[in-house]
Amino acid sequence: MTTRSSIIRTRFACRFLHSLRKLNQQEKTNSRRVKHAAYASMASAVGSKRAWSRAVLSKIRNRSLNRNLLKKKKRRSSEESEFGELRKLVPGGQVMNFYNLLDETADYINCLTSQVQVMKNILNLLST
């Protein structure tokens, strides 16, 4: 588990720093772009093994395409109240059954914590 998380951390740091450098070269940047870059690099670091990373990647790939679809989905899922919050938070959680949802949530939490740590380190290094 530790080796896997360290690999993911490395990959995430690589991708995120690359995207930061690319963003630096562009003129228009805002925090949303950085956030998107962070999530995208996290998802691509995890790969397509996990459902939530697949959801994030597909969402990024055709963001403009299925804006309407997403709205419809959200409307439907808001009706079912049970664990709706968790489903909303975990990407791709709207279409999972509950067991898978818990599984994905565990992995997602792991990845988020490592993401936050790496981002903090980078920020500390940059702001010194």
Binding site: A38, N121, L123, N124
Partner: protein
């Protein structure tokens, strides 16, 4: 659709065990017939409810009709079992909706291994009568009063859920499957509870879920906040001090490099380098830094500079987490650094780099840490491998030329 008739002579319900057919099947082939004698044994019913998940095959017959399972349970021997017979009619409907129903669930109460042997025999027999027609099944369902139960087994299912029914718990399919599902979910919840800090003390599923949701939200907010900060820092770096002649390294990295280079010539600028260290790991990194690098600062060779680079970056970026590592190569690409990294090192298949020799100044653990954390860009690895290939080609071609000349 066949009725496995299961009775057991020496059955006493004092210690109810539960057997799944998963344990029974493997021996079914080895067991011979002859269990029929136990049919009327002590008149003690053995309760066994089994469901097969191969609903696709039996869907036509099952979905419409009710699957009646008769569980004759007579409190015998120990008398501690359920007294009286109970008929449980279970209507199976809509079973494809649940995952858990698609798996074979069976429990039975018995108290010793003899019981399981008897069941094995029955199971093997019931397997042979597999081709029975639906009419037969219906007729057998009418004669189900003798403690028989009915199940459809087109072929032995592959996945089983081991469910242990305690006394007083229901053993019909729905409750069994539901219990298995609940167990799975609670297992996951425990894993999640371990992940989320401070969640171990919370009792109750709803509260735990609340806690998990809060934690995820806080993490996401942290990511948002950090990205805002990073954006601000990143935009500030838009006007780099272009002193190092390279297009590849805009912004801050240049300045660090320049600072380092200056500090090399003037040991008084040592503080600049020290500032690069991670504040949280400050004491550790500065200590290790001072140990072996202070003399190196006076040294002007390129190799020492790159060496310095590695330590500083790894110290700074590895931070509070021991195994967070960073691709140094992706940030800065001084040629000497590449040369240093590539020359004495070998790669394994994943592109990790292994240094062949460690400088003596490094502590052992530190050097190991460095080796673990140094990760190269795939492009660099590719480049390295290509150069090796070139060498090989040159060697081979020279050999060929030699042969031709000879």
């Amino acid at each position: 659709m066949d009725p496995p008739i299961i009775n057991e002579g020496s059955f006493s319900a004092a210690n109810p065990f539960s057997y799944t057919l998963a344990e029974i099947w493997p021996f079914a082939a080895a067991a011979n017939g002859g269990g029929n004698g136990e049919l009327g044994g002590g008149g003690l019913g053995l309760r066994m409810s089994s469901f097969t998940g191969l609903l696709e095959a039996a869907a036509n017959s099952i979905n419409e009709s009710t699957l009646t399972e008769q569980s004759g349970r007579s409190g015998g021997g120990g008398g501690a079992g359920g007294g009286g017979g109970g008929n449980v009619g279970v209507r199976k409907r809509d079973m494809n909706s649940e995952d858990d129903f698609s798996k074979f669930v069976s429990t039975s109460d018995a108290n010793d291994l003899d019981g399981s042997v008897a069941k094995r025999l029955k199971a093997s027999q019931s397997k042979e009568v597999n081709g029975a027609s639906k009419i037969e099944a219906e007729s057998s369902s009418q004669t189900a009063n003798k403690g028989t139960e009915q199940s459809s087994k087109p072929e032995p299912p592959k996945d089983y859920i081991h469910v242990r029914a305690r006394r007083g718990q229901a053993t019909d399919s729905h409750s069994l499957a539901e219990r298995a599902r609940r167990e799975k979910i609670s297992e996951r919840m425990k894993i999640l509870q371990d992940l989320v800090p401070g969640c171990n003390k919370v009792i109750g599923k709803a509260l735990v879920l609340d806690e998990i949701i809060n934690y995820i939200q806080s993490l996401q907010r942290q990511v948002e906040f950090l990205s805002m900060k990073l954006e601000a820092v990143n935009s500030r770096m838009n006007h780099p001090i272009e002193t190092y002649p390279s297009k590849d390294k805009p912004g801050r990295w240049n300045r660090i490099y320049v600072d380092l280079k200056h500090s090399m010539f003037q040991p008084s600028n040592f503080g600049v380098v020290e500032n690069l260290c991670h504040p949280k790991t400050g004491p550790r990194s500065t200590r290790s830094f001072k140990h072996h690098d202070y003399e190196k600062l006076c040294d002007t060779s390129e190799e020492c500079l790159t060496d310095l680079y590695a330590t500083i970056f790894l110290d700074a970026l590895s931070g509070p987490c021991e195994d967070s590592c960073i691709s140094v190569w992706s940030i800065l690409r001084p040629i000497a650094f590449l040369r240093k990294l590539l020359a004495p090192s070998t790669f394994d298949t994943t592109g990790m780099i292994f240094g062949t020799q460690a400088p003596r100044e490094y502590a052992q653990s530190e050097w190991l840490h460095m080796q673990r954390t140094l990760v190269l860009d795939p492009a660099a690895v590719f480049h390295y491998r290509r150069s090796i290939l070139k060498c090989v080609i040159i060697i081979i071609s020279s050999r060929i030329v030699c042969i031709i000349i000879v």
